[in-house]
């Protein structure tokens, strides 16, 4: 087996890594006209990685996974979605920081995207932890660079210290998981059979439960779930709007991918305590996010609390878990992945609109700033309306289908499922919350369409930003009319999750599992198959 067999399946990752280094170097040049190349270059890198992803296709059983990674259909889905939305993020951030800092900025953005795809492929707690940190650490820098005023540096301080604390808690939790399992490998892949970290016989004693709770706490910070959401509104408000659009998607997607990884390593059989903690977290996240959003007057803070509420909906799908052989209508994981893709675009679109206008000498932030937008810029207001209706979950937008999939997956759970009643109750809480959410989303649309102009909104940003806004809004309508392709990709992406859980049927004892794990490493470590 040659080196190429290991490297070629990782081509999109290498393209992003090399591109990030090159962007850093280009950013160091002293002339402004050369720095102008950074944004087109970043877009080119993302598109090249996307082409490489499509060219490689979904990994098959023959694809060689390098040590510590497991390339699956989930990797493929994560690459596609990350890179498509990554391209939109680059467009929206085209003119974002001052030219002197754009090289660093785009390099950090590329590294963050690289972290997401690595999270989706991680097969080891070590790789998983550092992939998540590769997502988080660049975002601290991005916030600090996003604008020069003191609010951005305050947001960076808050996000950094809380984020670093969450990372340390995550590492501490993982140390307990390692102590309980005796290995950091999530799935051993010997001879085509997949065995997860906690095959039935493994010790799910107090040590593992402490570890799991700490890991979920650390990841809850990344996805902004209650009670680890407190930073979100301040950070979202302090960072420049295009960056806020990024913050709603990048850490959240990585966090949910990591949750999927950890839960599938557990065969989705949660200890009762852990299930109820997550259940309460989902219910509280939806309810608190929506309730606090109602009290806000700043459009940015409304969207920040709405992103917390969306985390709650996605947690519902996560708790439903995988249901083999079905699409997102019944399979919670597929519904979660579909929702994540749609959410990334619609959330980015809403923040792209905020960055496309300035009110007087300030960035557009409050509802007053948006007042009368429809008369001044009808197309932009239409794009905002589409994105906001999609966030609300109103047909004819993809956001409606996303919510429909999540709640139908919870309602259609098998009646024999141990938590059937609890999940139905959670879905009902979710549906009620969506209705409450309509109230504050409608205030945004009403400000743009019904109210008189308070202050003149001047267009800002260039054509790339406008293209980014349009490309966020149009798919919302397209995927409502034609969801089968995206839903199909989401269904295929869960194949590896099902595979790791089905493998559990052939019950292997913990000791055998440990030996199999050692054997698998020997195979990977040597040069012959």
């Amino acid at each position: 087996m040659s080196l190429g067999d290991y490297l070629i399946p990782l081509a999109p990752e290498f393209i992003m890594l090399i591109g990030a280094c090159a962007a850093l170097i280009v950013g160091l040049t002293q002339t402004d006209d050369r720095r102008q190349f950074v944004s087109p270059f970043a877009l080119l890198v993302v598109l090249a990685a996307l082409v490489a992803t499509v060219w490689l296709g979904s990994p098959t059983a023959e694809t060689v996974s390098p040590p510590g990674l497991w390339l699956t259909s989930l990797t493929y889905f994560a690459r596609l979605i990350t890179l498509v939305i990554g391209a939109l993020i680059v467009l929206v951030n085209w003119h974002q920081p001052v030219a002197e800092e754009r090289g660093e900025y785009m390099a950090m953005l590329l590294l963050s995207l690289l972290g997401i795809t690595l999270t989706a492929s991680a097969n080891d707690l070590i790789v998983l932890f550092f992939a998540i940190e590769l997502v988080s650490v660049p975002t601290y820098v991005i916030i600090a660079l996003s604008r020069t005023d003191s609010r951005a540096s305050e947001a960076a301080v808050k996000y950094f210290f809380l984020g670093a604390m969450a990372a340390a808690i995550l590492a501490y939790g993982m140390s307990f998981l390692y102590g309980a399992a005796g290995t950091t490998t999530l799935f051993s892949l010997t001879g085509g059979a997949v065995a997860s970290l906690w095959q039935n016989g493994a010790d799910l004693g107090p040590q593992a439960i402490i570890g799991l709770l700490l890991v979920f706490g650390g990841l809850a910070f990344k996805v902004a779930a209650v009670p680890f959401h407190v930073y979100a509104p301040d950070v979202y408000e302090g960072a420049a709007s295009p960056v806020t659009g990024l913050l709603g998607f990048v850490p959240k997607f990585a966090g949910f991918l990591a949750l999927i990884k950890v839960l599938s390593a557990l065969n989705w059989e949660l200890p009762t305590e852990v299930f109820w903690v997550l259940w309460l977290m989902a219910a509280a996240t939806m309810t608190l996010g929506n309730a606090l959003a109602l009290l806000q007057t700043s459009a940015k803070r409304i969207l920040a609390y709405s992103s917390i509420a969306h985390t709650g909906y996605m947690l519902v799908a996560l708790l439903v878990g995988p249901v083999a052989g079905s699409g997102p209508m019944h399979d919670g994981v597929a519904a979660l992945l579909f929702y994540m893709a749609v959410y990334g675009a619609m959330n980015l679109g809403a923040f792209a609109l905020l960055s496309a206008f300035r009110s007087g000498d300030r960035d557009t932030e409050t509802l007053d700033d948006l007042a009368g937008l429809a008369r001044r810029a009808p197309m932009a207001a239409l794009a905002l309306a589409v994105c906001v209706f999609s966030l609300m979950g109103f047909p004819p937008t993809a956001g409606f289908l996303g919510k429909l999939y999540i709640f139908s997956s919870a309602f259609s759970l098998d009646a024999a499922h141990p938590y059937h009643g609890a999940m139905v109750a959670l879905a009902i809480i979710g549906v009620l919350n969506s209705a409450v959410g309509a109230a504050y989303y409608l205030r945004i649309v009403a400000a743009a369409y019904v109210r008189e102009e308070v202050q003149e909104a001047k267009p800002t940003g260039g054509m790339p930003l406008r293209w980014g806004l349009a490309l966020c809004a149009i798919p919302m309508l397209v995927f409502f009319a034609w969801p089968s392709r995206l839903a199909g990709e989401a269904r295929d992406a869960t194949a590896s999750v099902h595979q790791s859980i089905r493998a559990d049927q052939g019950k292997v004892t913990a000791a055998e599992h440990g030996q199999a794990d050692l054997a698998s490493r020997d195979v990977i470590g040597s040069d012959t198959p």
Partner: protein, 104 residues
Amino acid sequence: MLSIGLTHYLVVAAVLLCTGLFTIMTKRNAIGILIGVELLLNAANVNLVAFDRFREGGLFDGQIMALFIIVLAAAEAAIAVGICINVYKNLATVDVDSARQLQG
């Protein structure tokens, strides 16, 4: 004579964790908070190395992870100092209490 076992190390790590959390909650200076975060990361390191030492089997997953966490701590310190300088330029202090323009 008392022999040192796994539990002793876990207790040390837990004490480190609590000290770190206490530092983060009470310190108002950004550098002080950074020291608290470093304590938390080292609590994880002590745990990892202790679990590694007291289990059967020949792999060193825990020690490898601890090594990488040391690297992460260094990277985070670099970014923390960068962010602190940024704050100092804007506010002329690194006292986190003075950073309260964003409320809600």
